[in-house]
């Protein structure tokens, strides 16, 4: 039997598959389609201190093998999430990861503290890479110094493992990754979306009300693989890989490039059962390529 179990950053995942933040809400909707206990982990939609209404609509557009989104971190605010959403998620025996966002360092800290205090969250993912909000988010993800500060401060505010979610909208991903590691990050999540735009010919204007949005889906997979492959030899903390995964083969590609686990975003919209389907296929694909465990595959394509 192929072992799918993954140990990383002190967490034990029964398999390396989790839905990506923002593409799975807080799980309720997808629990109509399958048993969430099947998931290695569940990553929640971003939480900010106060509730946020996000950007005007339209907020999504379709692109070749991908999509753009400019949700703008809409969420009910951390208190409401803790009250209304966490109890549902904590019934499942999957690892629960909360995605933390903010405009200021203090907001990140505050949200991290509140989530940590619940005892129902197993890890935090620091979203310093959202391209769809005017303030905060991506600017922390494009400057190694700022990334370091926010990571350090959040680390001090929580006892939980912290994954820093990196933006691909940088010239040098390795220095961002190193900055996060130096600041004490327990892991990295890579990659968030690439900033893009679509022009709507009939209106002669950008289709998204926010003008730009984040590109996700299979279109960006080669960029994600490249960045993980580049970062892997330079850090000793685990990487959660994401960006265009829609099959077990894709997932193995990410493992080989250096990811310890993978998250699935856009593909949930195409196929709400994609996560359990990949979990079911994964042992066969691993075996086909000669691996008995997930951990054997991690980083195998990289000459460290």
């Amino acid at each position: 039997m192929t072992s799918l179990q993954v140990n990383m950053a002190g967490l034990t995942l029964k398999n390396p598959i989790m839905p990506a933040s923002g593409c799975f809400g807080f799980g309720k909707e997808y629990s109509q389609f399958f048993d969430l206990n099947k998931l290695g982990a569940i990553v929640m939609k971003a939480a900010t201190l106060e509730k946020r209404l996000g950007n005007p609509t339209p907020r999504v557009a379709e692109t070749p093998s991908g999509m753009l989104n400019a949700i703008g971190l809409q969420n009910p605010g951390v208190d409401n999430i803790i009250r209304d959403e966490l109890p549902f998620l904590s019934q499942f025996n999957s690892v629960i990861i909360a995605n933390v966002a903010g405009t200021t360092i203090e907001e990140y800290e505050e949200v991290a503290k509140k989530l940590s205090a619940t005892g129902q969250v197993d890890a935090l993912e620091l979203n310093i890479s959202c391209p769809n909000v005017k303030e905060g988010g991506i600017q922390f993800g494009q400057d190694p110094e700022l990334a370091k500060i926010v990571t350090e401060r959040v680390k001090r505010a929580t006892h939980l493992p912290v994954f820093v979610k990196l933006s691909p909208n940088v010239a040098d991903i390795v220095s961002m990754a190193k900055a996060a590691e130096e600041a004490g990050a327990d892991g990295l999540s890579m990659i968030n979306t690439i900033t893009g735009m679509q022009i709507h010919l009939p209106t002669k204007r950008p289709l998204l009300a926010n003008n730009t949005g984040g590109l996700s889906g299979p279109a960006i997979k080669p960029v994600a693989i490249r960045m993980i492959y580049e970062v892997y030899p330079h850090v000793s903390i685990p990487i959660i890989g994401m960006g265009g995964i829609s099959s077990a083969e894709d997932a193995v590609e990410f493992l080989l490039a250096g990811a310890s686990a993978v998250a699935i975003g856009t593909a949930n919209f195409q196929n709400p059962c994609i996560c359990p389907e990949i979990i079911e296929e994964l042992p066969k694909v691993l075996q086909k390529y000669g691996f008995n465990t997930v951990e054997e595959a991690i980083g195998k394509a990289v000459n460290r």
Partner: protein, 250 residues
């Protein structure tokens, strides 16, 4: 809501750029209610396409959809031969309140490709003995469809923007002719919904909304609309697409 494979039983042009498709389904036909939609996956496309249910036939186990060819996805759908299999999620969203409504007579107000879900609803009311009046607006003669079907449900007025068929004008120009209904149901372009809800401010009504969607099931916050609620918003895919007039800000 479920994911299922549906088989195209027939596909036929109804009007210019407008296609009627009958689909064999196991699950959706049992659960579907007027106002709900199906969410179709199309090969080569990242996002699914939401299309309203235009008729439900429990006996034959089929649902009918009517769609307008407006872009690459609907273009592709229009070329599917009978026997093709479509991957659909559904029935999605909240239906029109057709059962608990207590109406004696209703007014259906449809614009263009907003007409199909109203047919489904009108049939439902008719079967319950509720009187049905309809006002349907189209761009021009060649876009008109389902006129006869609506006439069978009750008195029906057709208007076209250019007067090439029925009366010339917008649906709002003829609404005043109908008085004997207690609730209205509207579906169509945003401009029409704005005008209708304003004109019929004092009448209870329900409208069906559209927005570009990601997940289609309430998880991604793509399809938000501002609302007069504590939260300040509604999700069109899961809280809607049907809303009480005035509940959401148009």
């Amino acid at each position: 809501m479920k994911r299922e494979k549906m088989t195209v039983l027939s596909i036929s042009p109804l009007a210019k750029d407008t296609v009627e498709m009958v689909l064999k389904t196991k699950n959706a036909v049992r659960k579907a209610k007027p106002g709900q939609f199906l969410y179709f996956q199309l090969p080569g496309h990242t996002l699914r396409r939401p299309i309203s249910i235009a008729a439900i036939d429990k006996e034959s186990g089929t649902v009918t959809i009517i769609f307008k060819v407006t872009g690459k996805g609907t273009e592709l759908m229009a070329t599917l031969p009978p026997g093709s299999v479509l991957d659909a999620i559904g029935p999605n969203g909240n239906p029109f309140p057709a059962d608990e409504n207590g109406s004696n007579a209703v007014l259906l107000i449809g614009g263009g490709i907003g007409v199909p879900p109203l047919y489904c609803l009108g049939k439902h009311f008719c079967a319950q003995g509720v009187k049905v009046y309809s006002v349907l607006g189209f761009q021009s003669r060649e876009y008109v469809f389902y006129e006869e079907k609506f006439r069978k449900l009750g008195e029906t007025v057709i208007v076209t923007d250019d007067g090439s068929y029925g009366e010339k004008g917008f649906v709002t120009d003829v609404l005043h002719r109908f008085k004997l209904y207690d609730t209205y149901f509207a579906c169509g372009p945003l401009m029409m919904l704005k005008a209708v809800t304003k004109q019929l401010e004092d009448v209870p009504g329900f409208i069906s909304m559209e927005e570009r969607m990601g997940c289609g099931i309430g998880a991604c916050y793509a399809c938000i609309i501002e609302a007069n609620t504590e939260e300040g918003y509604k999700k069109i895919c899961s809280d809607g697409p049907v809303f009480r007039a005035g509940e959401v800000l148009l």
